[in-house]
C-alpha cells in the first residue's frame, strides 16, 4: 500500500503533530510498512462476515449498563490534581482562539 507525503502531513495535522521534513520521510516509510503488514489480512475472504468492533456478542440486552444512581464524585481538588495548570477551580489552557 502506497502512502504519500501529503497523506502523512494531513494525518499529522489532524493529530495536532508538527513533523519535520525528515520525520515526514520516516513516517511515509514506517506507515507503509505497517499498512503492508496489516494488508496480509486481506488475503482472507471475509465477504459475508459482519465487521466486529466489540468482542462481547451474546449478552443480555442490557448487560453492563448501570442504573441512574449517583456516586460521590472526585471534587474539585482531586479533579484538578493532575492538571499542569489550574486556577479558580478551573483547568487552565493556553488561550483558544478558534475552534
Amino acid at each position: 500500500m502506497k502512502i504519500t507525503e501529503q497523506e502523512v502531513r494531513y494525518v499529522a495535522d489532524l493529530a495536532n503533530l508538527k513533523l519535520s521534513d525528515e520525520e515526514v520521510g520516516r513516517m511515509v516509510r514506517e506507515m507503509e510498512e505497517i499498512l503492508n503488514y496489516v494488508d496480509k489480512l486481506n488475503e482472507l475472504d471475509t465477504s459475508g462476515v459482519e465487521p466486529m468492533a466489540q468482542v462481547l456478542f451474546e449478552t443480555d440486552e442490557q448487560a453492563g449498563w448501570r442504573e441512574d444512581v449517583e456516586h460521590v464524585p472526585l471534587g474539585t481538588e482531586a479533579g484538578l490534581a493532575n492538571a499542569p495548570l489550574s486556577g479558580a477551580g478551573y483547568f487552565k489552557v493556553p488561550r483558544v482562539i478558534e475552534r
Binding site: 489532524l14 440486552e61 441512574d68 488561550r95 478558534e98
Partner: protein, 492 residues
Amino acid sequence: MSSSVEAGVPPEILAQYEPVIGLEVHVQLATRTKIFCACPTSFGAQPNSNVCPVCLGLPGALPVLNRQAVEMAIRAALALNCEVRQRSIFARKNYFYPDLPKGYQISQYDQPLAEHGSIEISLDGGKKRIGITRVHLEDDAGKSMHEGFKDSDRYSYVDLNRSGTPLIEIVSEPDMRSSDEAYAYLTDLKQVMQYIEVSSCDMEKGHLRCDANVSVRRRGADRFGTKAEVKNLNSFRFLKLALDHEIQRQIAILESGGQVMQETRLFNVATGETVGMRSKEHAHDYRYFPEPDLLPLRTSDAWRNRIREETPELPARKRERFASEYGIREYDAQVLTLTRAAAEYFEKAAAASGDPRTTANWVTGDLMGLLRAAGKDISESPVRAEDLGGLVRMIARGEVTGKLAKEILAKMFTSGESARAVMAREGLEQISDAGALEKIVEEVIANNPKQVAQYKAGKAAVLGFLVGQVMKASRGQANPSMVNEVLRAKLG
C-alpha cells in the same frame, strides 16, 4: 463575503427565493447522572467538582451506559414517531478541543438509535409535517471560558462538570421553508420533550441547543442550493434573527452573481449577523469509528413497547381532545395544553365544576392573570384545581355572580382557601333567605318609583335595572334567580 452586501434585500427580490432549512437540535436529558459515569448532572455546582476518571478522560477509565438515558432517548424517539433500531452502535467522533478531555466525543454515526420520524407543527392557518431524519445519543463536552478572568488574554478556563452529560441530537429533514416554520418546529419540539419529561429544555441552562442548515433556491427550482451551517442559535429570538439574516445574506450573494460557500457560520448575538468561521478545510474530518469500549446498544420489542405504552398523551393530541371532548375554543385548548401542568390543572378543575367551557375561561383568564402577576407557574398555584372548579360550579348554579366570583378568586389566591371558606370568612355568602331578600327588594322598589311605574306600564326591560339595583344593594350577594322571582312577585 462582507456583511454590507445583504443590507436590505428588497422584498420583491426576497419573494423570488425559497429558503430551505433543517435543524439539528441537542436536548439535554434529565437524568440524575451522566451518560457514561455516575457523576451528578446538577447545574451550578462548583467548577470541576462533579467529575471522575471517566468524564475527565483519564487513561484506562471505561464508560458504563446509563440505562435511564437510553430509556429517555427511546421515549423521545417514539414521541417523534421514529423507528427505534433493535441494534445501534456508539462511535467515536474525533477532534481536539480543551473541553473534550478524551479527544473524542462518544456519539452515534452510521447506526443511530432511531430514524425515519416526523412531527406535526402548528402554523398560522394550518399544520405541517416535518420529517425527523434521526435521533441519536451522545455525551456532552465540558465548558470553556475565554473571557472574564484577569489572565483571559493568555488563558482559557475549562470546567468539566458538564463533560459526559447525556444528550440526544435530533436531526430534521430540510423541510422548513421559512424562519417562522423553524421557530414553530423548535417550539413544538420543546413542548413534546417537556411533556414526556425527558428534558426541562431550559435554554438558559443550555438544555436545548440548536444549529441550522440553511440554503436558498429560486422558487420552483428542483434542487437545493448550497447550504451553510449556522451555529449558536440558543434562544428562540436568536433562531429567527439568525435565520432571517442568513437567508438575506445568501440571496444577496446570488443576486450579485456570486456563489454561496458551504461553510460553518456563527451567529453573533451583538451584531445580529452570521459570521464565517475561518476553519481549516478538513476540520470536519472526524474519523468516526465504532466505540470499542461499548457494546452495541440493543433494544427488545418488549422494552420499546413498554416505553411506548407509558408515553403520556402528547400536546397535539391533547389539544384536539380538549376541543372535541370539552367543546372549548381552539385557542383556549392551545393555551391549556402549553404545559402538562396546565392541562392537568384544567382537567381537574373541569371535573370538579361540571362546566368545562366556563372553567376554561376562568383558568385562561383570571387564574392565569393572577399567576402572571405573582410570577408563579400554574403548578405552584395557591388556588387548588378542585377549589377553582368549586367556584365555577357555584357560578354555573347561579350561587355567585361572575363579578363577585372575581373578588372571591383573588382572595382564594391570597389565602389558598376554598371559595366557601373565603365567603364564610368575608361574610360573602349568598343571600338566599327569602325574608332577607324581600326586605332588600322592598327598599329598591321604594327608592325607584319612576322605574317601577315604567315597569307597571308595560316596559318589561326595566326589570333588568331593578335586578341590578337589588344586586348592588346586596353587594352582589343576592341569589340572582331568586331576586328575579321576588321582584316579579312584588311588582305584581
